[in-house]
Every structure is written in C-alpha cells, then in structure tokens.
Subunit: 351 residues, 2 copies
DNA sequence: TTTGGCACTCGATATAAAAGAGTGCTAACA
DNA sequence: TGTTAGCACTCTTTTATATCGAGTGCCAAA
C-alpha cells in the first residue's frame, strides 16, 4: 500500500500538509493572503507556482484555506488552523534565558494573590498579548481554623483561615454581647469539629448542626454555628480570574474592528464567561489551544486561547492562559504557557 | 460706562459669549464644526450669517474657537470649553426619576467595597461613559485593635482592625515559636499603646519603640513590635480606585484613534496616574470639571473629567468621577455626579 | 452695525484609467 | 501522471482628474 502519495486519515496528502504548514507560518508572520509564487519560494521544494496552485485548489476544496477574493492569495480557515495546531506545529524549545526570566519573576516571595498577578502580567509581558490566570477555587480548600474577636458591643470579627493560607474575615453584628471567653469556647468547638474538612462539607455540616442545635435549644451553640456560617459564606467560591495586558490586543489590526474589540473587552470586564470557558479545560493536562470561532462565543472571533492548567501537589488548582489573535506565533507561545504553568505550580508549593 | 456692548473681564462681549455658548452646545450635539449659517439659525436672534462670521472672527482671535481648515465651520478650543464650563453652562436639574434610580441602586446594604463598586458602575451606566470612584485612603484611618493567632509552628496570623471597620491580615513567619499567652500579651500591649491613633502615627511610633526596645534588649517587646510593623505595612495606603465602563469610551469616535484609546486604557489599568490626578481635587468641594489637555497627561487628550468629592460626616473621604470625551453633555453629567456623591456619602454613613 | 454679494479655499465625492497581484485553465512536456 | 509555461480573466489598489459643496473673508452698500 506504500504509494508515493501518502494519504492521512483526513484525506490530505503529506505534501499538501507541508504546504499548508508553510502557508500558515507565512500567514502568521505577515497577516496577508499568501500567493502561489510566495509559497513556492517558501516551501523550498523547487516547484513552480502552477504546481502549488493545483495543491491549493485541493486544500480549498477540503476547506482548509480560502481566498478573500479571486485575485488574492489564500488564507487559512479555522479548520486549517485546527489541523495546523493539532498535527503540523513544530514547537520551539524555550531559550534558557527566557526560562530564567520566568523563574526569577515568579521567584520572589509574596502572598499567593501577588504571585498569580505576577504570573498573568508575566504572560502578557512576554507574549505581548493578554495574560489570564484563574484563581484556585475555594471549594477545594479545607478548613483550618476559625477565631472570633470581640470588636465593640454587639460586633464580632470572625476570621477564617484555610489550609492554603488564605484568610477570610467578616464583621458580624450579633444579637447580644459575647464575652471573650464565650467566643473562645465557640471557636474551640468549631475548630475541633471542622478542622481539616473540605470547605464544601463544612458548609453543609454547619447547616446540619445548626438545625440540631436549634432543636435542642442550645442557644450558644446555635449562635456559634450561625456566625461560622456567615464567615464560611463570605469566603465562598470567590473564584476569579486575573487578566493583564488587555490593551496589547489593540495593536493587532486583525481584531481592530472596534466592534469586535469592544465585545472582547466587555467580556474581560465581566470575566464570568472567560472563567466558564477556561473551566471546560480544567481536566486536560498540558497545553490546550482553541480557536475563538470554535467556542461559540462571538466575542472571541479572530482570537485564539492557549491554555494550561497549573498544579500543586498533583492537583490542578487553576488555569493559565494567553489570549491573542488566531494569527499568533503558537510555537513560541505554547512553551511559554507550558513552562510558566510548571514554574507557577512549583512556586505555589513552596510558598 | 454702560455702553451697549458689555465687556466682561475676559474681553468677550456678552453677545459673543452667547454665540460661543450656542456654538458649543451645537458642537456637543453633533460633533462637527459649526458653520455660520447653522449658528445663525440656532442662536435665535435673527441675524444674518455674515454678522455671525464677524463675531466668529473675534472669537477666533481670542483663541476660543478654531477652524480645522478654511472651509469648515468652527470648533471650540480648550479655552473655549473652559469658558463655557466656567461661566456659560446652564445646568439642568436632575429628573426625579433619575434621582430615585441612583438612590435605589445605592440603597441596598452591603459592605463598603460593594457600595463603591456599585457607585462606579452606576455612574458609567447612567452617563454611558467611564465611572471612577476612589477608595478612601488608609492614612486617615485609625488603629483600633490588633490580634495574633498562632497558626502552626513559627507561623502567626496577625490581624489589624481599623476604626472604619476594615480588616487587614498577614501571615508572619517568626523566628521562634510563640505561646498563645505571649501573643495575647503582645497584642494587649500594642492595643493599649496604639488604640485610637491615626495609622500614619502608628507606623512612626512602632519604629521609635522598636529602637527603644532593641536598645534595652527587650527581645519579646521587639518581636511584638516587629510583627506589628509588618501588618501595619500590609494595611498600608492601599489607596485604590474602581473604574467601570471603560469600554463605553470606545463608542466615541472623538477618541477613536486606537493610539489615543490605548493610552487611556493603559492608564486605567495602571490606575496610579488617575488616582494622583483626582487627588489634586480632593479639597475642592462640589463638582469640578477639567479638560484633558489642561492636565498635561497626554492620555487624556480629548477627554474631560467631571469629579466631585464625597463626604462622610463632613469629612471628604474619596472622589467620584466620570471620564468621557470633552464633547460631553456637561449639563446632564454634572448633576448626576453631584447627586451621586451626596447619596453615596449618606449611604456610607448609615453603613 | 448689519447685510448681501462674490471670489476663493479646501475637503469630500465621483469617475476613470492604469497597475499589480494572483487565479484557473489548457496544452505541452518529461 | 505529475509538472510546468502561457495566457486570459478577475479584483483590488493606486493614481489622476474633475466636480461639488460648505464655508470663509472681505468689501461695499444699507
């Protein structure tokens, strides 16, 4: 069966694939339709433009490239890009210097929030596109310690520490005044009951016990649980994402139709949709790429997202992403996102 | 001296001022150079275009209007706008409905941060421009209470509560382990020494006492003070501003040169300059307006800022602003900012 | 002081022509 | 059978040119 023209599953000859690759690389560089003459030179196979034209015809029939009008060259379609990304891409190795840069920028100690902000800024700085980091969800974290401090009459400060070192606090207006001793006792009880428990479970357990306490008319207990409930809620899934360098996207005339750009920026301000989108890739491991049009979200037309999860102790805790025009240098961006994810994970671990 | 042509200090006749006013109002509506014919109709004084032209010549000589080219009408200059704003503007009264809207949107209870966010969103929503709210500075707030909680070996959680109810916390890695009792004693001492003191002073006093403690080799005291210093720094002037509706500005083709817009958005992301700018008006009371070019900040070319301080108990605690194109409907925006400032102040008071 | 008249300027719009890039197809070639 | 040269054709881009129209500035008359 070994004919000269090897056909891959997709029905595209090996040579045609090579041309597609070269065409897309060229298109990524210049952003303009690529003609047969240009391609003939770039491909380096010493073929005439006419030959190329024949192949282009095939590629067009397969929906991998398209021409904006009769006398322009070809530009890749979304499916063309998809094939390029999935099987044609040759990822560069990151230069040692760049790895070092990432490492040092994420090396300085600071609290977790700070670190994540740095990471998104770093991504946007290195790639000249928008950098996104989603913040670990609260759901996964565990209860470590709760404390109550009397502030003034009828006002108590509740402090909740989770095992990832985050601290949530809330000022509670209580029905009656509590002594310091009472508060300490309540805290002791709660710490004893919930320590180490995953926050989601804490929430449900608090509710259960609250009902139990009410039935048995244990006022003190009920109040303690009520207060705990409030602060647990305050520390609730405040999942969020940090976006840096949005304005970099204004430089790409690919997206420059203000219309388009505005939709994108609105999405950034809102964040919800972006977050939802990235969550879909939460379970993949390693770098994933997807193209705006594939997502169904209109605001991402013309864009691509390069994303990777980052892990602490084998657990995926959040996502990292770069958003830019579909016409981006994937072979440079992919390793950047990849390495940053790893370094970020490590940095979070020895925090 | 009562001649027919009354000359104001600026050397502009009363009638000329009236024309300037009408011209600017028209320019604000249409965004296009206003010609003599149009102006003749709008002015409602039954004068011929030729007469208007003469007046326009005078206004041009005074630098209040300019023409983009020979055969276009006139557009206001920055100084023209300045005069318009300072003395020609007739501010509309806000409709009862709009006041109600503002009141209800700021009525629902929530923490202070929430309220401020709502305010900026409200401003941007009502004006279709960008809304800004600066958050009260920490400097002005006073120390109320500090507490230390042992977390694990060599890790202590320090919590600082200020009299405005804000809570700052920081996890400290200590050189040695502290018992709960030691920590309580340290907290007691600090609370006793600093309670009620303004934060700026707390910072300096901590340093003084730290030196004293070191000289007298009072290790325990020194450590307590060191820890206090860290958390005080953590709660340092985290002055900040909340910006909403930036993307609204993309709709105005006045600013649409992507160059311009990008600079503006970068400034929004950075925030520092905006904050610094608004701080200059911190002491003014009532609505202030200024025009981008006057600020010297390049990114504000083509923009104006309508700003007002908001007060709690007679004290100015922050600023509120709307940023939009210089060609904005001041007579509508001014009362909105004004009223919002008052309502926000009130809402913060009964928080 | 106001007005009509008039020449003039300059951007905006329209039209046409030419240039350039690239294609598709056909026929010849190895 | 794959490859190539040639050629007509299509569309965009550029350039040149004419025309229109809005609006000005100035002058002379009311």
């Amino acid at each position: 069966m070994a004919t000269k023209k090897v056909i891959s599953e997709s029905g595209v000859g090996e040579r045609a694939q090579h041309f597609l690759k070269v065409l897309i690389e060229r298109y990524i560089r210049d952003g303009q339709p690529v003609g047969s003459r240009t391609l003939a030179k770039d491909a380096g196979m010493d073929l005439s433009p006419a030959t190329i034209r024949n192949v282009m015809c095939d590629l067009e029939d397969l929906g991998l490239v398209a021409s904006p009008h009769t006398s322009a060259g070809r530009i890749p379609t979304v499916t063309g890009f998809r094939m390029f990304i999935d099987s044609l891409l040759t990822v560069q190795r990151l230069q040692a210097g760049e790895i070092e840069r990432i490492r040092t920028e994420l090396a300085y100690p600071g609290d977790a929030g700070n670190l994540l902000t740095s990471a998104s800024q770093l991504l946007s700085g290195v790639t000249h596109m928008a950098g996104v980091v989603t913040v670990p969800r609260r759901e996964r974290t565990a209860f470590r310690q709760i404390e109550f401090l009397p502030l003034s009459e009828n006002r108590v400060l509740a402090i909740l520490v989770t095992n990832d070192g985050e601290v949530a606090n809330r000022i509670l207006n209580t029905h009656r005044d509590f002594t310091r001793l009472e508060l300490d006792q309540a805290a002791n009880f709660l710490n004893h009951s919930f320590s180490g428990l995953e926050m989601g479970k804490v929430r449900s357990r608090v509710l259960e016990e609250l009902n139990a306490a009410r039935e048995s008319f244990d006022q003190t207990m009920a109040q303690a649980l009520e207060m705990a409930g409030e602060v647990v809620d305050a520390s609730a899934p405040r999942e969020d994402c940090l976006i840096a360098g949005q304005t970099n996207l204004m430089e790409f005339e690919d997206l420059a139709s203000l219309q388009q750009l505005r939709k994108l920026f609105d999405a950034f301000a809102e964040k919800r949709e972006i977050l939802h989108l990235l969550d879909q890739f939460h379970n993949a491991d390693g770098v994933q790429i997807f193209i705006g049009e594939e997502s169904g979200f209109q605001m991402l037309n013309g864009c691509s997202i390069v994303t990777a999860p980052y892990q602490v102790d084998e657990d995926v805790v959040g996502m990292l992403a770069v958003i830019g025009p579909t016409r981006m240098e994937y072979e440079r961006v992919i390793p950047i996102v990849d390495v940053t994810a790893k370094i970020l994970g490590a940095a979070l671990k020895n925090r």
